[in-house]
């Protein structure tokens, strides 16, 4: 089948199938204006070079996508006034002069195909179409409005670089280049999305990242055939291995420094134009429990915090289930004094404990959702209603016992301590499963749920890397490095073994503990 949009000549599979009406259309200003008709933002003008009516060209661009001043000063003005161009006789000479620097612009391309020309125009270029010789010269003069580089909103930074990715691919790649200056940093671009034609870049460091991993990422990206890439799910959900799992298998970050440090570990990054976040593959459970901030603070402090995070995972998953189990099935497990306190707090509450817990968990989820969806000015109302209704009134009205409020609050707060929101969401989902199982069968049910979760996690493998590594792979190797604790940087000599990097040595300085 014939393919459309030939961007390079290496024979990659093309995403856009040829439209029959464009097949043999010649490259002329008239044809372009026909093809791009009905779009008022596309400006097409006839110009005479140096006032010579025989040398008519068509000037075409999309309003708003180009920088008009640059277009006027650096393209139009020399074209109409430059002395060197005044002597030329035909279009071929003009193109020749432009290609050799008569117009002061670095990024231009000569096109002899109408489709390429249209693509350049829609991408933010100015096209000069020479009807007589069926050729065009396009100048990349992108000048659309974009956000400036700002601080991250999703990941708080205390000690570290504060810049964050923005929506424009070229800016994002430059942010990465600024941090990793080696020639081995490779940025391979492709387009995904039949209608959106979104540029997507695969970023890796040659000589570190495993070439099989890079090939696999490229293969999976190229296999995506979708109408548009406007949201992350368009890419993420296609490239993950276990497509039915709630757990994230691709890590995302807004921070170029975090992105770069993962590249240095030997992972592969994906940048998508139009999205201010980057993606890193393969993702493993251990990664989602480490915040980039850990590597900016003292290793002892960071280790303690990391350990607390692991405890929080267990807490947020099983605490409601555990509470239901011990208060309705295994009351003998509770110390007598505590049992007395729970009895006092539960006295007069008509609902069974598991209903109380499920109501409270649902109420928190609804409040959370409402807080996200409400416009900011009225968002505060949610927290007031939440605190008053869910917390105080429910307890006072004897609908919910105070201990349940404490248990659920602690559960929810523990869930918020996860550095990765996707991971936190997966835990939220599994928490309900655990709670349901505990309300049927107590600790027996809870254990079943936990075993099911472990089985599920152990069965996931992303891009050939076990999801539970380094806890359940490599025969326990690497478990001491950045798992439950964060080791000092000078002790971590090698890159993660499970990534099978080409260059395995990460650090080789001669550091002694005593100095």
């Amino acid at each position: 089948m014939l393919k459309f949009w030939k961007r390079n000549s290496k024979g990659k599979p093309y995403l856009y199938e040829e439209k029959p009406e464009n097949k043999d259309v010649s490259l002329t200003g008239k044809n372009i204006s026909t093809l791009l008709s009905d779009s008022d933002d596309i400006i097409i003008r006839q110009l005479y070079i140096n006032g010579n009516e025989e040398l008519a060209i068509t000037f075409c661009y999309v309003d708003g996508l180009i920088n008009k001043k640059t277009a006027s000063d650096d393209v139009l003005k020399p074209l109409l006034q430059e002395a060197a161009l005044s002597k030329v006789q035909d279009s071929r000479d003009i193109i020749n002069l432009i290609e050799h620097g008569s117009l002061y612009y670095t990024s231009q391309a000569t096109r002899d195909n109408i489709n390429d020309t249209i693509k350049d125009v829609l991408d933010g270029s100015v096209a000069l179409i020479f009807d007589d010789i069926k050729q065009a010269v396009t100048f990349d003069i992108k000048g659309f409005e974009k956000r400036t580089i700002q601080e991250t909103t999703g990941e708080n930074v205390i000690k570290g670089s504060k810049d964050a990715f923005i929506e424009v691919m070229s800016v994002n790649t430059s942010l990465v280049r600024r941090k990793i200056r080696t020639q081995n940093l490779k940025i391979k671009q492709m387009s995904i999305g039949q209608e959106t034609i979104t540029p997507v870049s695969v970023v890796y460091i040659d000589g570190i990242a495993n070439s099989n991993l890079v090939d696999e990422v490229n293969k999976r990206l190229q296999a995506i055939n979708i109408d548009g890439v406007l949201r992350s799910s368009a890419i993420e959900e296609f490239i993950v291995d276990n497509k039915l799992s709630a757990f994230p298998q691709v890590m995302y970050t807004e921070r170029p420094d975090n992105f770069c440090s993962n590249l240095l570990e030997g992972r592969v990054g994906i940048l998508i134009d139009g999205l201010p976040v980057s993606y890193i593959v393969p993702g493993s459970l251990n990664q989602f429990l480490h915040a980039p901030e850990d590597y900016s603070s003292n290793f002892l402090v960071a280790s303690s915090i990391t350990f607390i995070r692991f405890v929080s995972v267990i807490t947020t998953l099983i605490l409601p289930g555990f509470y239901i189990s011990v208060t309705t099935f295994h009351q003998e497990m509770i110390p007598t004094e505590l049992a007395m306190s729970i009895i006092i707090s539960k006295e007069g509450v008509p609902l069974p404990t598991y209903i109380e817990i499920i109501i409270m968990l649902l109420a928190f989820e609804v409040l959370l959702e409402a807080g996200l969806r409400m416009p900011k000015p009225i968002g505060q109302a949610v927290s007031i209603v939440g605190a008053v209704v869910v917390g105080q009134s429910a307890v006072e009205a004897k609908l919910i016992s105070p201990v349940v409020v404490i248990v659920v609050s602690f559960t929810v707060i523990s869930g918020f301590s996860m550095p990765n929101q996707d991971f936190s969401n997966a835990l939220r989902l599994w928490r309900f499963i655990m709670t349901a199982l505990s309300s049927f069968a107590g600790l027996f049910g809870l254990s079943l749920g936990f075993i099911a979760l472990l089985l599920h996690l152990a069965s996931i493998e992303t891009f050939g890397v076990p999801y539970l590594s380094p806890f359940a792979a490599n025969e326990g190797d690497d478990i001491e490095v950045d798992s439950l604790f964060r080791m000092p940087v000078w002790l971590v000599k090698k890159r993660p073994r499970n990534l099978k990097t080409i260059n395995k040595v990460k650090e080789n300085s001669n550091v002694s503990k005593d100095k």
């Binding site: 309705t328 009351q331 729970i342």
Partner: protein, 405 residues
């Protein structure tokens, strides 16, 4: 999809089974529908001596008052005491259910009190239910009630201001200051009781009337006191050790945590010393392959905590005198306990255990004759002691004033 439908059907089955009396799943009961039993008292039947009388004490929790009134919060808690008599404990237990609006819950029993009469008759039938039934905590503490029945003990001691479980917990914790044990767990007692060659010991409690010097009310209140140990031989209570003798037993069992010794110094004033560590080693004396006797070697050290004398007692000769005195006291106490053991032919001083530990092969040969050997075997006691420190004041407090008179 298959997995998802399996999971969903599992959940539905779980939901449907739930609440059914034939459920595969464990029974669900809300914690506030339970009546947590804290103390159980066991006696011989009062109406019919072949029956068992059981008394339970729970905490009756009053409903919390709601609303914004100043008195909101919890009302005074009152213990609920119930008694029942039946041929078996299980029947008595089931009948209790009909007395209460809540489920009787045995998982929180902390203290098992057995009346003296029941213990004398043979304790096995009175405790079997508690160690066999899975809902009972075998880590509950056991006490033998002296001088009265467990029923009266529970009801009379609950009349005062104390809540009996709290009072017993305090006694348990503080008993180590009087060299007593920190309670005896049912499991440990049972293991001891089931040992064919040695005799079990259990701590005893009694009621004591105390005059209340603060209130003008003439009525004396009743309080709970530790009252030495009782000794079991063949599952029956045979004799007892009083409070003064119990330290000897503790030394023999290597269970002294801390203890006060009071000695009169050469000037006739009192000195109080605190035993801070001890080590007892019991070993058989064997000559020519024959058992000649047992030796108990005790080593302990103490600190001087209180000195009444105004003369300096911290010279070498006085310290030696104090050292010898404390060794003598402990030696006498140990020998007194050994005498009780031999007189009753009840090896509650763990001679059999030490023998088996030190000479396992020889023990196998003589263990069946131990009952005959034990009362006749000579047991020698050697006590070594040391005074560790006298604290920072190395001279008597009042010496300065004596010198400047």
């Amino acid at each position: 999809m298959k997995k998802v439908s399996l999971l969903v059907s599992f959940l539905i089955i779980g939901l449907l089974f739930n609440g059914c009396s034939m459920a595969l799943l464990p029974e669900r009961i809300e914690i506030n529908k339970l009546n947590l039993i804290r103390i159980v008292g066991i006696d011989k039947g009062i109406k019919n001596p072949d029956d068992i009388c059981i008394t339970i004490l729970t905490k009756k929790i009053q409903q919390q008052q709601s609303g914004g009134s100043e008195n909101s919060g919890q009302k005074a808690e009152q213990p609920l005491i119930l008694t029942n008599e039946a041929p078996t404990l299980m029947k008595a237990d089931r009948e209790f259910q009909t007395y209460s609006d809540k489920r009787m819950f045995w998982g929180h029993v902390e203290y098992l009190l057995v009346g003296e009469e029941a213990a004398k008759e043979g304790i096995a039938k009175y405790i079997d239910y508690f160690v066999r039934d899975t809902s009972f905590r075998i880590k509950a503490n056991i006490y033998i009630i002296k001088g009265t029945t467990a029923k009266d003990f529970i009801s009379q001691s609950s009349m005062g201001e104390y809540y009996l479980p709290d009072r017993l917990e305090a006694l348990n914790k503080n008993s180590k200051l009087l060299t007593g044990w920190q309670g005896l767990e049912l499991l440990e007692f049972l293991q001891w009781l089931n040992n064919k060659y040695s005799s079990a010991v259990a701590p005893a409690l009694c009621l004591k009337e105390i005059e209340n010097p603060i209130s003008e009310d003439d009525k004396p209140s009743i309080d709970v006191r530790l009252d030495g140990y009782v000794i079991f031989k063949n599952l029956k209570l045979v004799t007892e050790i009083n409070l003064k003798q119990e330290r000897g037993e503790n030394f023999l069992l290597n269970k002294v945590v801390t203890s006060a010794i009071q000695i009169t110094d050469p000037s006739g004033k009192m000195v109080a010393m605190d035993i801070i560590d001890n080590k007892t080693d019991t070993s058989p004396v064997i000559k020519n392959g024959k058992l000649k006797g047992m030796t108990v070697k005790v080593e302990f050290s103490s600190n001087i905590n209180e000195v009444h004398s105004t003369s300096d007692i911290f010279d070498e000769s006085t310290l030696k005198y104090l050292n010898d005195e404390q060794s003598k006291i402990i030696k006498n106490e140990i020998e007194a306990v050994i005498k009780i053991a031999k007189d009753n032919n009840a090896d509650f001083i763990d001679m059999a255990g030490s023998f088996e530990m030190k000479r396992p092969t020889m023990w196998k040969k003589i263990k069946d004759k131990w009952d005959d050997i034990f009362p006749t075997i000579p047991i020698s006691v050697e006590v070594k002691s040391k005074i560790n420190r006298t604290y920072d004041i190395i001279k008597p407090n009042s010496r300065f004033w004596e010198e400047h008179k």
